[in-house]
Amino acid sequence: MKNAAARATRPAAGAKKTRERRAGKIHPVVIYPFRQPVDDSDLAPLYELIARLDTEKSQYARPITVMDRKTHYANETQKRFQEFRKGTVARHSDILDAWCVDTCQMWYSGLGMAFDKGSPDDVYWLIPGDFNYGTAVGRDVLGRLHDLPEICMELDQDVCIGEIETDHNNSKQLIDTYGTFALLYNWFPAEARELRQYTERPRSEFFAIRHGFLGEVLRQRWFAYEQTVVMLLQAVSSSRRISRFFVGNVSDLPEGSDSLASAMQQVERTERVLKTIWRERHQPNPGWTEEYRVLEAQSEQVRRTALIVLENLLG
């Protein structure tokens, strides 16, 4: 064992290369909340950060804010919204107005726009806007988020996932424990084991991703939801370099996202995505339908059990 450890810890040839910071830029991409918050207490500190990033032009590309057109039209008569959009959001970032069916399409549009402007050494930093950044812990999280792209840059990682801490009864925790991972173990057991070595939050909305890997996932079929899971599955399957970093215990702004119905929908969506990916990967194999039927039957049991657990704990 000692020999193995000593051998394992010897630096590889060219190890220093990975420690050298590359010359690329970091592209911040903010996903504007779908529902405009009742006040600016959470968005203001986020855009204070964005304003700072916008001044550090040697390190950061011009930030991008993705705003759903539905959000825009729902608030176009609100003076406070218009002032914040024009005076703060547009001042410190380029606004990408897009009609989006869901948050994942906002990611796709925003990361895609940044990618089009980027270059091979660049890193893209996704920042969800619908978190309680105005709280003390939220501000602490804002002070840590920059670590995600910096880890990609400094340690030459393909993706760095930001992990938030929640208590065991938090709906996100429950969904991931009883839904996401249970389903992952059914459809992709080897990848699930690997993923869990990194994170308990495979659906995290906080991450940074390197140009080459982002190009790979953008060009693949873009699944309708649970993009982080899809991206991490791809990362594990293609032996990409993954890191995880703890960003704090920030939580979503209240939008009913912790309701039982929402939790059920998220589990069902995850199952649908995993089934689709499995079929796409295995359909070239002869006899794949037989294996698929077995996994599908197991998956149904997993999903039903997850929904019962969620109903007991959240209902």
């Binding site: 000692k2 450890a5 810890t9 990975t18 920059h146 670590d147 340690l155 890191s243 970093f245």
Partner: protein
Amino acid sequence: MNRSTYGPNKTLRAMNFICNAPQAKSVRLVGDFNEWNPAAHPMKHMPDGAWLITVELKHGHHRYAFLVDGTLTLDPHAQGITRNDQGERVSLVPVS
């Protein structure tokens, strides 16, 4: 860890590394900062059974692990996880 700025801080910063391995005979700190050299940073066995060392590190993100009786061991309290150049899982510490 208190992190008050978004930009880099060029100064060295003293960082405490603590490994809770009361039964171990030796614990060493290895990482990018000492080229993963097991001899560079032997840790001190404290009265409470934990092992401690203070190391000055530059601004940035550093990969590290504990060698507990020769076995590469993750820090359960680390802020992050990544892999070293050999593909082994190791811990991650940010220094600002």
